[in-house]
Amino acid sequence: MDDMEFVGLGNFSHLFFEDLVFWGALRNNLVWMILTLVFMISVSLGLAMLLNAKFKGRTFFRGLFYFPFVLSGILVGIIWRWMYNVNFGFLNEFLSLIGLDQLRQTWLGDPNMALFYVFIAALWRGVGAPMILFLAGLQTIPEDVLEAADIDGASRFKKFFSIKLPMLKETFVIVLATQIIGSMGVFDIIVATTGGGPGNSTQVLASYMVQQTFSFANMGMGAALSTIMLVIMMIVVIPYVLFTTKER
């Protein structure tokens, strides 16, 4: 590694002004973040509400929905890559089995939709973590407050928006921060499903950084991408830390 040459801000300049992939990767990170905030949080909150109710077998279902989260992202990515496989995958085979051949897709081969299909895999894997946090938050809400609301004739809708949501404020802060940070660092599931393709349509900053650094020995570019990711993460992390310390 003796022949390194100092190029100043050359790598940043290349990324910002010449590189065809960088802005697409950053956009994909932002799309992923929006999908996470909308779907990951709403689905996990919905599941937590359902699993907070008293019914037989709820412990089993809590474990069932949490289970995918303990699997590695690479493993989940490989499972879903095979599910989406055009020629042998479960999804296309299932569509054929029920006579819906016309709905068979190229799935991960569609550059316009591939990111969303990968996100479904990530949703399946990741929903358990915020669900557990919401579940813990819901269980801290005092029963007497909810009973008082029942006595006052509050509807389920009213109780949810006027009591439960406000009392989950701290849980939301933790979930939002961890999900935003996670969505900026998303890597393993993308690498295992699409490798950032097709045509870089699912490339995100982390996968692009690894590809540049380790596949193409482009260390300077990899370091520049890492620095940009760090700055973006700090924009989220610093307000989060300030908020949580102020609350204490």
Binding site: M1, E5, H14, N87, T106, W107, P198, S215
Partner: protein, 427 residues
């Protein structure tokens, strides 16, 4: 309570710091002399290490002072782990590597041993074939112990060709007709995948050889002439695009992994796949009928040159002379004919050593034909070894963009030129 939390955090911080501090105390090299024992650490592809324990055990019993420790990797993880290790000076004693730009990067980093004087002292010019030493010479250094020479041809399904009444094409026009005929029969003509980009590149470079001709192709590879606006380059991308968009590749090829391709070839869903001599042993190891497969050179014009690349073992520059001698002694033992005979599908055959040209296992029926064709037709260096990494990155991107139709062939040629200019700027 607050004090307890602070104490806990302090302990945590000290632990993390200690972890980092101790990690910096690691040895530069996993292999090395430990008293009287020399341990050789060896990284290779998983398939190169399958079933070799008995060879290692036999070597170790004959050489009590030497132990050999292996670590297998996939193609991609081998690259990644070597890159990481090269950065923090923790490379193994020796590692498998391809020639060209892939192996050349370790020479440029200054982390691999220049074997030139070692080879001279040990008369390697009387051991290895001149071509294999040539392919292992990178940036003026003899960078590795030659493992194999590979030449790529079109593997095809004999049964499909017989059913459709097809014969080997002798011109590019005949090849196009052949592809269209197979496609019309409901079979995927070319079995290729785009993840990662090197498999699909094998077809594109044949088109480039066809349109550019041998001389201009070689000039393009060393950037003697520009790619932007070059009609041969543009035509090669245009033909590649036509193939990608005409259903001549498998459905979903753009997101398929090259390692999964045999799932389509073995059942006969696809008819042809560009591969090298190792593919015979893959077919045999996968318990398929080797008689179903034949080879022909893709008729790209001129002498119908085939693409080729070398494989070798590189050595850590930190090795002592004793360690290097032990590692080389092991490799010489490893490649002895009795090991090749007992593990016929493990080695890249023929072994690129003088006098061993005929040592090809009888069941690998296509290998002699590949090397005979390569020797008559001539070869060119495969693109991802001929071109530097930044340009290979550009090429893999371009092939995807062109296949998807998001880039025209003219834009693709210009994009390649940008990659070349960036490489040249960075030296």
């Amino acid at each position: 309570m607050k004090k307890k939390i602070l104490a806990l955090l302090a302990v945590l911080c000290i632990s993390v710091f200690a972890l980092f501090a101790f990690s910096a105390c690691g040895n530069d090299n996993d292999g090395g002399a430990d008293g009287e024992t020399i341990n050789i650490t060896w990284w290779d592809l998983n398939e190169h290490l399958t079933g070799i324990d008995s060879i290692i055990a036999s070597f170790e019993s004959q050489n009590p002072g030497i132990t050999v420790t292996t670590a297998g990797h996939s193609n991609e993880t081998l690259h990644q782990n070597l890159q990481i290790s090269a950065m923090n000076d923790t490379l193994p004693s020796m590692w498998f590597m391809w020639g060209g730009a892939l192996g050349g990067r370790y020479v440029q980093y200054g982390v691999s041993r220049d074997l030139t004087s070692f080879a001279n002292a040990n008369n390697w010019n009387q051991v290895f074939t001149p071509a294999s030493l040539q392919l292992a010479t990178l940036h003026g250094e003899l960078a590795g112990f030659p493992r194999a020479m590979n030449i790529l041809a079109v593997y095809y399904r004999r049964d499909i060709f017989e059913d459709l009444g097809l014969s080997h094409p002798t011109t590019m026009a005949e090849f196009h007709t052949l592809v269209e005929t197979i496609h019309a029969a409901g079979i995927t003509p070319i079995n290729t995948a785009s993840v990662p980009g090197w498999h699909i590149m094998r077809l594109w470079e044949q088109f480039l050889e066809h349109y550019a001709g041998a001389v201009q192709h070689d000039q393009l590879q060393i950037f003697e002439i520009p790619w932007e606006g070059n009609q041969a380059v543009i035509d090669s991308f245009a033909t590649f695009q036509r193939y990608a968009q005409s259903g001549f590749f498998p459905d979903g090829f753009i997101s398929m992994e090259a390692g999964d391709l045999t799932l389509l070839l073995y059942p006969g869903f696809s008819a042809m796949q560009i591969e090298g001599p190792w593919f015979d042993s893959s077919i045999i190891n996968d318990q398929q009928d080797i008689e179903l497969y034949g080879i022909f050179p893709l008729p790209n014009g001129g002498t119908n040159r085939l693409s080729a690349f070398g494989e070798m073992y590189m050595f850590n520059d930190n090795l002592t002379d004793e360690e290097l001698e032990a590692a080389v002694a092991f490799l010489h033992y490893f490649f002895e004919q009795h090991n090749v005979d007992t593990h016929p599908n493990l080695f890249g055959v023929p072994i690129p050593q003088i006098g061993r040209e005929g040592g090809i296992p009888a069941e690998q029926v296509n290998v002699p034909a590949i090397f005979a064709t390569g020797s008559v037709n001539g070869t060119f260096t495969i693109s991802d070894q001929a071109l530097p990494p930044i340009v290979v990155d550009a090429l893999f991107n371009v092939l995807d963009y062109v296949a998807l139709g998001t880039m025209t062939p003219e834009e693709a040629a210009a994009f390649m030129q940008r990659g070349i200019e960036r490489h040249q700027q960075e030296g």
